[in-house]
Amino acid sequence: MLLIPCPWCGPRSQIEFTYGGDANAKRPAPGAPEAVWYAYVYLRDNPAGPHAERWLHSAGCRQWFEVRRDTRTHEILGCARPGETLPGAPA
């Protein structure tokens, strides 16, 4: 069971969290072209390897944040609060 490092509460058990998916899916500006909206709504980064993803500490501090996790090993490589840069970016 994952031990997820909440950037506020520190490492907590996975059961306190809710998954939010691909963190690179960034909400487009209202006026963005339909193609951009389509990509945002439907297309996902889905790498076999380090994956930037969102988690909500739903049973804890109620904060959304980002985690980089290797999808092959489930090893967590880093976490970040909104606005911070997520460490462990693949070179």
Partner: protein, 417 residues
């Protein structure tokens, strides 16, 4: 050598020392007319039908591991066609029809066990939805039967049908022709039959790149060298995004771990497949006697073929809530597979935006039952370079066009389907 009780008897005399190879292990040729990536049920079926139905026999199936080692070898083996939406209903019903004749077709006993699949209903709202679905099935010419709580209690005495249960059983929707099929036999049966048609099944051969020239498929880079082909079909399930990316295509798919588990073998206690959407649980008893159980996804992207305890707790918790008598049985083994979850819960069996490239994937946790139809239609689409009416709706473009096939209505959230 044809498999039968007679060949078995004949070989018994010779202490089974003369059985031939079920399939060869050839080394890859430099070029094929068609290459299928993925030696699971879908890839092997695609190759078999290419050869058998369309006479394309110069075909290779490339498998990075051992054939059938992906989800085909790790699923809970439930086959059914109890869908609500037309596109799904017709597709899965075609698959079920192929299952019915598959052992004979392949001369390999895939153990299609038409023991019935019963979806339990736990609330009045579920009841409406289940009956609505059953009616849609019947209007689509698919067998479906509603079972009252009383009928269920009589048919499955081990089930807790009491009215004060946490999730009381309000009835159930039965598809009598639904059931199970021996997972490994499907991979092996198609492999043997495809091999007999001349298909090269190449194991331990991972595709590491896709070569595109002038916007068309030129071949694949593999761990065993470059292999040229103009027709490339992807049947890599959980790895769909990963492999499609080699052709520069981003898919509306996420890969998630789904776990399954078996109890120790026991004497027969359960003759039908029982599933419950409300508590995310499904169970059947294998011929060896284990209870084969599964439930929900592990809820975060994964390629690890393993999961964690919370889901196992939920699955067994649901099991014991429904079957309180199983409490002292023991869990024997748990494992996981990688599901290719799409944004509407339905598959993609279609041409991709590169000339000569097709895929059959996006199975979510329900693609085993699709194996024969998926292979058949994928082969058709590859051979004719155009989809068959049965898979015409399962395009990649449907999302951009707003033609989602969203059985659950859960929307663009991969893990919600």
């Amino acid at each position: 050598m044809k498999y039968s009780i007679f060949s078995l008897a004949r070989n018994a005399v010779g202490f089974h020392e003369r059985w031939p190879l079920a399939w060869r292990s050839p080394s890859p040729k430099p070029r094929y007319d068609a290459v299928i990536v993925g030696g699971g049920g879908h890839g092997l079926a695609s190759a078999y039908y290419l050869a058998k139905e369309h006479g394309v026999t110069n075909v290779a199936v490339l498998e990075k591991g051992w054939l059938g080692g992906g989800n085909t070898g790790r699923n809970t083996t439930i086959v059914r066609s109890n869908y609500h939406l037309d596109a799904n209903a017709h597709f899965y019903e075609y698959s079920l029809k192929l299952w019915e004749g598959l052992s004979k077709e392949l001369n390999f006993n895939v153990m299609y066990s038409a023991r019935g699949v019963l979806n339990l209903v736990h609330s009045p709202a579920d009841l409406d939805a289940a009956i609505r679905r059953g009616n849609a099935m019947r209007l689509n010419g698919i067998d479906a039967k509603f079972m009252s709580t009383g009928e269920i209690a009589r048919a499955i005495p081990t089930l807790d049908c009491s009215a004060d249960a946490r999730f009381p059983i309000h009835g159930g929707l039965l598809q009598p022709r639904g059931g199970t099929v021996r997972h490994d036999a499907v991979a092996w049966g198609y492999a043997r039959a495809a091999d007999a048609c001349g298909v090269d099944i190449i194991q331990q051969c991972e595709v590491t790149g896709i070569r595109i020239e002038g916007g068309a498929i030129a071949g694949v880079e593999t761990t065993r060298g470059f292999i040229a082909t103009a027709k490339l079909g992807l049947a890599v399930a959980g790895h769909s995004s990963h492999v499609a990316a080699m052709a520069g295509i981003k898919l509306p798919i996420e890969s998630h771990a789904l776990q399954a588990m078996v109890s120790e073998p026991i004497k027969p206690v359960l003759d039908t497949v029982v599933t419950s959407g409300a508590v995310h649980f499904y169970i059947s008893q294998s011929d060896k006697g284990e209870l084969v159980m599964g439930g929900d996804l592990d809820f975060c992207n994964s390629y690890a073929q393993r999961g964690n305890l919370p889901i196992i707790e939920n699955v067994v918790g649901a099991c014991l809530a429904l079957f309180p008598g199983f409490g002292r049985l023991k869990l024997l083994r748990t494992w996981g597979g990688i599901c290719d979850m799409t944004m509407d819960g339905s598959p993609i069996i279609a041409k991709l935006p590169v000339k000569g490239l097709t895929m059959t994937g996006g199975w979510c946790y329900g693609g085993f039952k699709a194996t024969p139809a998926s292979g058949w239609l994928h082969a058709y689409t590859m051979a004719r370079d155009a989809p068959h009416p049965l898979n015409a709706a399962f395009t990649l473009e449907r999302f951009a066009e707003g033609r989602m096939i969203d059985e659950k209505g859960a929307g663009a959230c991969a893990w919600a389907h």
